[in-house]
């Protein structure tokens, strides 16, 4: 009836009485009830809401409320502090678990390099056979230096220790590590690399293909530094020896899709590195493994990557680590890649 009157009103000059409100039918927008009118004809064309708001609450009561679970994907448990996690668990009524398991802790590697070696500037730039190079030769392992004392300590536990033989052994371990990394053989990697260095060495190695070839050493490997530290007890001694390698290598890194990301398979580069090897000498079954690499400040930067990238702004807080500086794949963060930068004259 209301519709008929409205259509009639459109056709003729018939106007309804002033106390009745004839709003235009609209499907797209809602026209609220005008309080100035006593009889307000509802808009049946607007289907998104019920035309009579008088019984809204009753209609709402008909539906049984069900508590929907909060599946907050934004809730990253890794980033929450223990207090926040405790609060959340209380909210949800979850009891905290009691760690009944008691597992033995085995300390098999230290957390860093003790008294790291500071390589002298200009190392590797001049050939030792030239006059200037000969002048530059440094006293390696003076008779009464700390390194000599450390080596004596190592000889206490391991009688047949000789730095020269060790340097050769170290090179073998170095080559083994790189080959294992290229094959991504975890078992061999664990045998040649300490636990502290393992995550750094294998950073993003599982999603790239690495091809590495060792062409030869330009200078024989040399032990340049040695230190001994003890962890917790004075008997628990770890020995750290820094070995200097000057070698020729080929490195090519391909990303997940087989595209060349870094280096080249054809061009060889000269690599000067100072690698720290560690052994738990107090342990009879301790083995020499790669622990750390020393990158001096004067070392020229690495070969630039083949693709361009944006440098993210470093936040003022200390959260930003060096790897955040480049928003690219963490090629810069990989420690064990040879620093393909020193171009030998």
């Amino acid at each position: 009836a209301a519709r008929i009157t409205s259509s009639l009103s459109r056709l003729t000059l018939f106007t309804p009485p002033s106390y009745v409100c004839l709003t235009p039918h609209s499907r797209s927008y809602y026209t609220p009830k005008d309080p100035n009118y006593k009889y307000f004809r509802p808009n049946f064309a607007f289907k998104r809401k019920h035309y009579n708001p008088k019984f809204k609450k009753d209609r709402w009561l008909k539906v049984t409320k069900v508590e929907l679970p909060e599946i907050d994907t934004k809730d990253d448990v890794d980033k929450m502090t223990p207090d926040e996690i405790r609060a959340k668990m209380k909210e949800k009524g979850i009891q905290p678990t009691r760690p009944w398991q008691e597992k033995p802790i085995v300390i098999s590697s230290t957390a860093g390099t003790f008294e790291p070696y500071v390589p002298p500037e200009g190392d590797g730039k001049l050939s030792t056979t030239s006059k200037a190079g000969a002048k530059q030769k440094f006293q390696f392992l003076e008779k009464k230096g700390k390194s000599m004392m450390a080596i004596r300590k190592i000889r206490q536990y391991d009688e047949d220790f000789d730095p020269k033989d060790f340097a050769e052994e170290a090179q073998k371990i170095y080559i083994d590590t790189h080959k294992a990394l290229a094959d991504f053989d975890k078992v061999r990697l664990h045998q040649t690399v300490t636990e502290r260095a393992y995550p750094i060495v294998t950073h993003q190695a599982h999603r790239s293909t690495i091809r590495w070839h060792f062409l030869g050493s330009l200078e024989p490997p040399r032990v340049v530094h040695a230190r001994c530290t003890d962890v917790i007890t004075t008997d628990n001694i770890f020995a750290q020896i820094t070995v200097r390698f000057h070698t020729k290598q080929i490195l090519a890194v391909y990303d997940r899709f087989g595209r060349l990301q870094h280096g080249s398979e054809v061009v060889a580069r000269d690599v000067l590195e100072y690698v720290v090897f560690e052994k738990h000498i107090a342990n009879t079954y301790g083995i020499w493994r790669i622990h750390d690499k020393i990158i001096p400040d004067w070392m020229p930067p690495r070969q630039p990557t083949l693709k361009t990238y944006k440098i993210e702004e470093i936040k003022e807080e200390e959260e930003a680590t060096p790897s955040d500086k480049e928003s690219k794949d963490g090629v810069a963060a990989e420690l064990e890649k040879p620093s393909i930068s020193v171009a030998h004259a």
């Binding site: 008909k62 539906v63 049984t64 409320k65 069900v66 929907l68 679970p69 909060e70 599946i71 994907t73 809730d75 990253d76 448990v77 890794d78 929450m80 223990p82 996690i85 668990m89 949800k92 009524g93 979850i94 678990t97 760690p99 009944w100 597992k103 033995p104 802790i105 085995v106 300390i107 098999s108 590697s109 230290t110 957390a111 664990h190 300490t194 636990e195 502290r196 260095a197 995550p199 750094i200 599982h206 999603r207 790239s208 293909t209 091809r211 391909y254 990303d255 997940r256 899709f257 087989g258 595209r259 060349l260 990301q261 693709k307 361009t308 990238y309 944006k310 928003s327 690219k328 794949d329």
Partner: protein, 230 residues
């Protein structure tokens, strides 16, 4: 009820069950000994699990899609076209009906990433917000982890919806009648590929060239026959 509560915990649980509350307890007896002072560098890492550490909670929800992000392809041989990069991303448990989300997913297929995000800004649907977030996250991931050089050089190659859990409720009607109410969840999956999108995403939808039309007409004409004739 309780299962729903447990589903709030994130997956995977099994990895966390071995790590207690403290970051330092990482020992494993025998075999390869682990360094305690390991360089993980996450001071506030905590394991959160609802059930006891001994029982393993079965992971729920979609898990296989993201494994595509871990496949490593061999280096392309010399002379062949380089393989375009792709990244798979998903958003789980969006409180939206999958059938309604389907419309949003269909809109975005075959568009460039920037166009897709801009279009979703003006879609008046609840699911468009979730879809937009997924696309933006996927774009960032592509640059950070999958060696994509230019973030805008991506296009949406796959965009589809999966059914999530359904929580059932009920409501009463007039005259002692009841109706069921379903609260639906969905998962949204997206694959971004590097490069230019194809001209026609659906090959059957592309307009036919004049030559193709002519051939089709010719074939139709040739197919005509007078039945039961010699």
């Amino acid at each position: 009820g309780l299962r729903v509560l447990k589903s709030n915990t994130f997956q995977p649980i099994s990895g966390l069950a071995t790590r207690g509350y403290l970051a330092s307890i990482a020992g494993q007896p025998g075999g390869q000994s682990t360094g305690v002072l390991a360089a993980h560098g996450e001071p506030n890492r905590c394991g959160l699990h609802t059930s006891s550490a001994l029982c393993w909670e079965r992971p729920t929800g979609p898990r296989k899609f993201l494994t595509h992000n871990q496949t490593v392809f061999p280096p392309t041989p010399f002379g062949e076209q380089p393989r375009p990069a792709f990244v798979c991303h998903m958003k789980k448990n969006i409180k939206y009906s999958p059938s309604k989300m389907w419309y949003v997913a269909c809109l975005v297929r075959g568009l460039r990433i920037d166009d897709a995000i801009n279009q979703l800004k003006f879609v008046h649907k609840k699911g468009s917000v979730a879809a937009r977030e997924t696309l933006e996250e996927a774009k960032e991931l592509a640059v950070k982890e999958h060696n994509v050089e230019f973030a805008s050089n991506l296009w949406v190659s796959e965009s589809f919806v999966g059914k999530g859990m359904i929580i059932r409720g009920y409501r009463r009607h007039a005259r002692r009648r009841f109706g069921k109410v379903e609260y639906k969840y969905c998962h949204y999956f997206v694959t971004l590929e590097e490069g230019d999108p194809p001209e026609h995403y659906y090959p059957f939808r592309r307009p036919r060239t004049p030559q193709e039309l002519l051939e089709e007409w010719m074939e139709e004409q040739r197919r005509r026959t007078i039945i039961k004739s010699l």
